[in-house]
């Protein structure tokens, strides 16, 4: 076979390649060539990204405001923004909002910490070791099928309607998604990397802390997101009974006294909490996964 067909004949050193003589010849030579179409992701200005991000929520807000102001949305269907703002001011002035947030934050925080922590440990154990998986997974999968709200009567009969009941309920609610996503994340860690780490003598908690958990962090933070939002559901259920404060209790209040402004306010408070959780996790992602910002496929 011969590959020398179109090889330049001389072996002289020419740094500029085979430069053609005239511009016309140069054009003719380059006929049919194109500038490569860029396949990568272009960097977008930060301001534009922020603007796009807040556009849809702002639009919804504007539609709500316009609908109420123009009378298209009757106040008994959806309270007007002004009414909701009034309710908010009232709650802030009496100090109730702070008190409610602190009380609920305490319950949810403890619950997610205990339940999420347990779910994390179980998920990692099941993900790393076959025995762990055999011991833990069937039970967790069964528990996963039980809506945690079905546990309310049982927990009340065990713990009464006090703080313990509330925290345990949230803990159980948070533990299950944390387990499921952590387990999945750990299973998806590159087996070659884990194998290599085992070869370097890492076992047990050193393998888990040094290799498996950092590699599974994207899933674990995803699990944390879900645990946090499940904990809000837990709050509503837990604070319906035997509570005098809390953002779940606020829902009960709105319902009992039929206050449309409070009904909407509850939704807004939960939405704001969602925003706060999302921001916190994004920040956590940036801090805990510094390598992600630099990832370039090459």
């Amino acid at each position: 076979m011969s590959v020398s067909g179109s090889a330049p004949e001389s072996t002289a050193v020419s740094v500029s390649g085979s430069a053609p003589e005239s511009p016309a010849a140069a054009r003719e030579e380059a006929r049919g060539l194109e500038a490569p179409r860029f396949l990568g992701a272009r960097r977008r200005p930060a301001a534009l990204s922020v603007a796009v991000r807040i556009a849809v929520p702002l639009l919804l807000l504007a539609a709500w405001w316009y609908g109420s102001a123009s009378g298209r949305i009757p106040p008994d269907v959806l309270a007007a923004p002004s009414a909701v703002a009034g309710a908010l001011r009232e709650l802030i002035a009496t100090g109730q909002l702070t008190g409610y947030l602190l009380a609920s934050g305490h319950r949810a925080g403890l619950g997610v910490l205990a339940g999420g922590g347990l779910g994390l440990v179980l998920g990692v154990a099941a993900g790393i070791s076959a025995v762990g998986e055999e011991l833990v997974d069937p039970t967790m999968q069964m528990l996963r099928a039980v809506p945690f709200l079905a546990l309310v009567p049982l927990f009340i009969s065990w713990f009464g309607v006090g703080e313990t009941f509330k925290i345990v309920l949230i803990a159980v609610a948070a533990a299950i998604p944390m387990y499921a996503y952590t387990y999945l994340g750990v299973r998806n860690v590159d087996r070659k990397v884990v194998e290599a780490a085992r070869g370097f003598g890492l076992r047990g908690h050193r393998l888990a802390l040094g290799v498996v958990i950092p590699s599974a962090l994207p899933s674990i933070l995803m699990a944390l997101r879900i645990s946090l939002s499940v904990s809000l559901t837990g709050l509503i259920a837990a604070e319906q009974i035997g509570a005098t404060e809390g953002i779940g209790y606020l829902v009960t209040l709105a319902q009992q006294y039929f206050r449309p402004d409070y009904m909407v306010l509850c939704i807004l408070v939960y939405a704001a909490l969602g925003l706060v959780f999302d921001g916190a996790i994004r920040l956590l992602e940036r801090v805990a996964m510094p390598w992600r910002g630099h990832v370039v496929a090459r």
Partner: protein, 244 residues
């Protein structure tokens, strides 16, 4: 040899034209005024020590990176073989080869697999392949697209020495048959001299040497002239005579 001619394509013209190409990452200028013409059907090798910007140049040609300045023109049908096979673990070998192509090319995909010596591997999973086999699948995936420009980024670097020799032979044979313009990025001087019609050394952001290799194929270290070329490139790569 029958070459497919597409409208608007100059059959004996260029496959790649680069003028005044510059590329920096932060404060570091990696490519600083690169001029390069590669003819259709030419087997071109880009030599350079690790970290000189060979991959960056190749990625610009592939459209995976944007140049900061300069003109880059290339023939339309370009495909890349990377250092790693980059096969999709969740798709079978044939599906990987014909990725993104209409299902009518399945037969062409099977032929390409046969050409790289993997006849009957179409239904295998990528995870079951050896390193060399996986890289041959990557080669078949490039070939089935009938490229005008084949971009190879150290495609043999991760292979064992014996497999590497076999792969080099295979690539030489396939390129002689299909005649794409080839850009082979490598840091292996022997590989460049063995395969290429023309070798360029990239140093400090610019092309330092541009040398045609006019030796008969197949080549090895005993081919007359091989050693002289080898020595020239090693010198330009900054390797002292004692190490040759």
């Amino acid at each position: 040899m029958s070459e497919p001619v597409f409208p608007g394509e100059a059959p004996d013209g260029l496959a790649i034209r680069v003028r005044g190409l510059r590329k920096s990452f932060g404060a570091k200028t990696v490519l600083d005024g690169v001029d390069l013409d590669i003819r259709r059907g030419e087997f071109f090798a880009l030599l350079g020590p690790s970290g000189t910007g060979k991959t960056t140049l190749l990625r610009i040609l592939a459209g995976l990176e944007l140049p900061d300045a300069g003109t880059v023109l290339a023939a339309r049908r370009r495909t890349t073989v990377y250092q790693e096979p980059r096969l999709i673990p969740a798709r079978r070998v044939l599906a990987n080869v014909t990725l993104g192509l209409p299902s009518s090319v399945r037969e062409a995909g099977r032929r390409a697999l046969a050409e790289v010596g993997l006849e009957g591997y179409g239904r295998a999973w990528p995870a079951t392949l050896s390193g060399g086999e996986a890289q041959r699948v990557a080669l078949a995936r490039a070939l089935v697209r009938d490229p005008e420009v084949l971009l190879l980024d150290e495609p043999f670097a991760a292979l064992d020495a014996l497999t590497r020799l076999q792969m080099q032979e295979l690539v030489a044979e396939l390129c002689a048959r299909h005649r794409p313009a080839v850009v082979l990025v490598t840091h292996d001087v022997d590989e460049a001299v063995r395969l290429a019609d023309r070798v360029v050394v990239l140093r400090e952001g610019a092309l330092a040497v541009d040398q045609a290799i006019d030796l008969p194929h197949p080549r090895d270290r005993d081919t007359p002239g091989f050693t002289a070329h080898r020595r020239l490139f090693l010198t330009h790569l900054g390797v002292t005579a004692a190490a040759h």
